[in-house]
Symmetry: C2
Subunit: 365 residues, 2 copies
């Protein structure tokens, strides 16, 4: 039987509650479908800091590296606002991305039909929206050196962050975007600030070259990142796949996620390069939303983004396409039935908590 080895990192805040719902699905798949998932669990973020004084331990990093896939909840919260920069909750997430070399972050921004009214945009602008943001995740200003604060004397300090991109980093993320576009509407829009940033100039050149030599069949457009933000707000349906750097991807994917009205529902996948021998990619799956400390522990968080992240895991890490489709369909069915957590509550719908939502999805699965 295939061994399928998952490492769970629920993290902080609502991460615990939402991960519990994924565990139900894993247990069900093992019991009823012989899926053969094995799971182990670790600490990340504030919970790792509280237990061990770091944002993730080396031992847990080893487990993440050894797993077929990592499922990640969320990190952070006001409780850890004052911890030192090096061990702040986000450092755990950033180390996972970097050490697993998860350079490709896939962030679908889709608008669930049942939720079009929840968007702040006019419904006709977001109904049927289906964008995929492909964000570079291991380079740019997130990891470039120097990254320092220096005391200059006279009460003055100087902070420096460095945006660095090499050709190969841009080429591999562009290739991921073009490949994915071929399975969708075959259109890529690349976003940078080539009018201000040298990294934008190189980004633009390498994407153009990759397109010309390897993917001439895909439609390619370039947009300045600020104009891209505007166009996302003005007419999001013009986009299919958007490819952009780490920091612009952070901003633009959050804007895109909010447009859909489905923020509590959106999953993401972070993928590494295929292994030369086995063809397997390292991978981590996590909701786009954060740890929501204000509602943590109340049993009311929406587990759908976490469950949908597990569906992406089934699809991308285990090639369990039918199971992934079924799980996504189960989510859509539950929404169509008017079953809602508080964040997506609508008139006439049935309000449920985290566990009931998980159960309802499992019942449809």
């Amino acid at each position: 039987m295939t061994q399928r080895n998952l490492f769970l990192l629920p993290g902080d805040g609502i991460g615990q509650e939402t991960m519990a719902e994924v565990r139900k699905i894993i247990d069900y798949m093992n019991a009823e479908q012989g899926a053969g998932f094995t799971t182990d669990e670790g600490l990340v973020g504030g919970s790792a800091y509280d237990a061990h004084g770091v944002a993730i331990t080396d031992a847990d990093m080893e487990k993440a590296l050894a797993a077929d896939a990592v499922l990640f909840g969320a990190v952070g919260g006001p409780k850890w606002d004052a911890v030192p920069y090096e061990v702040r909750p986000e450092a755990g997430l950033l180390r996972l991305r970097k050490d697993l070399e998860l350079f490709a972050n896939l962030r679908p921004a889709i608008c669930y039909p049942a939720l079009a009214e929840a968007s702040s945009l006019k419904p006709e602008l977001v109904e049927g929206l289906d964008i995929l943001i492909v964000r570079e995740l291991t380079g740019g200003v997130y990891f470039g050196e120097p990254k320092t604060i220096t005391d200059l004397g006279n009460g003055q300090k100087r902070a420096i962050d460095t945006q660095v991109y090499d050709t190969y980093e841009i080429e591999r993320i562009a290739s991921v975007a073009f490949e994915l576009a071929r399975t969708r509407k075959n259109a890529v829009c690349s976003m940078e600030k080539r009018n201000v940033m040298k990294s934008g100039v190189l980004w633009n050149q390498v994407v153009t070259e990759t397109h010309k030599t390897k993917y001439p069949d895909v439609k390619l457009e370039h947009m300045l990142a600020d104009a891209g933000g505007m166009q996302l707000v003005r007419a999001p349906k013009q986009f299919d796949v958007i490819v952009t750097d780490n920091l612009f991807g952070d901003m633009l994917s959050d804007v895109a996620a909010m447009l859909t009205g489905s923020l509590g529902m959106l999953p993401s996948a972070s993928l590494g390069a295929p292994d030369a021998k086995t063809g397997k990619r390292k991978a981590m799956y996590e909701p786009v939303h954060g740890s929501a400390p204000d509602i943590a522990g109340k049993g009311i968080a929406n587990p759908i983004a976490m469950i949908a992240s597990f569906a992406m895991c089934l699809r991308y890490s285990f090639n369990m396409v039918k199971e992934a489709d079924n799980l996504e369909k189960a989510i859509a069915n539950v929404l169509d039935k008017g079953i809602r957590t508080g964040d997506i509550m609508a008139e006439g719908a049935t309000r449920v908590g985290t566990a009931e939502m998980g159960d309802a999805i499992l019942a449809e699965f």
Copy 2:
């Protein structure tokens, strides 16, 4: 009589046409109100490159430095997409900002009541919207060194941009934001990525300290820039003044501008520090929109953003508060009468060109 010395840089694309409408207003104020404006005019962007091979000449820079205020149209267009980086159209704009030390960029995002329907957001979310984005304009990744592309051999290049902020740069822009908040709803939201960037950590510290020591009466909130982008889309009216760095300000102010549905209407002011002797600030005023090459030369561009930028000039550079108020009222009146350029056309409105729009505003002034 007061001498009021204006330097006009219409630039490229629709910059020419829209500046012509401001010239009418200047002529009128000189003739009818003895305003005593003197004007000179220069080249910037692609038009400067075509004439002189640079994005702005030293001679024009001298004039900009000597003027009481600079009025700037727009730069750029596909015609100059392939010119060398150092002399691309935007380099003229960036040199003006840097050499005039215009560190404070004020970008109001207001929703003209007559245009609430034009927003892609639901009207109730933007009706009455009045945000002021205060963007740092002479620091950060726009100007930090190194800023290079290096050939590494093996077909690999490395691009580097550097984000640098010193304490005093953050302090002075924060002070501008707090001062302006006091004239408005007394609330500032500071946005950065302190969870990822050292410059975000320092930004957060200095804004907090400036608030505590000099502006404790103002309400201060901190938000991560990605969450800020989300909140702008979700519920923009929660904000009064937003203060942020050069790059985040570029992205966030464009998103905010697009929210209003009034993109073709939004002005901006870029201000320097008050002169130690005279108290005068160097200043440049420009529309938020770009050069719109697709409609340039057709006489259909909306001149309102350029005229509203001149209103800001009257207010901030010449303390002509009554005249600024009147000019802004004239714009609102013309809109209320249903006079519209193509970009803001609505059913039942009267469609006019650039010159008629300018004339209509002048008639109400």
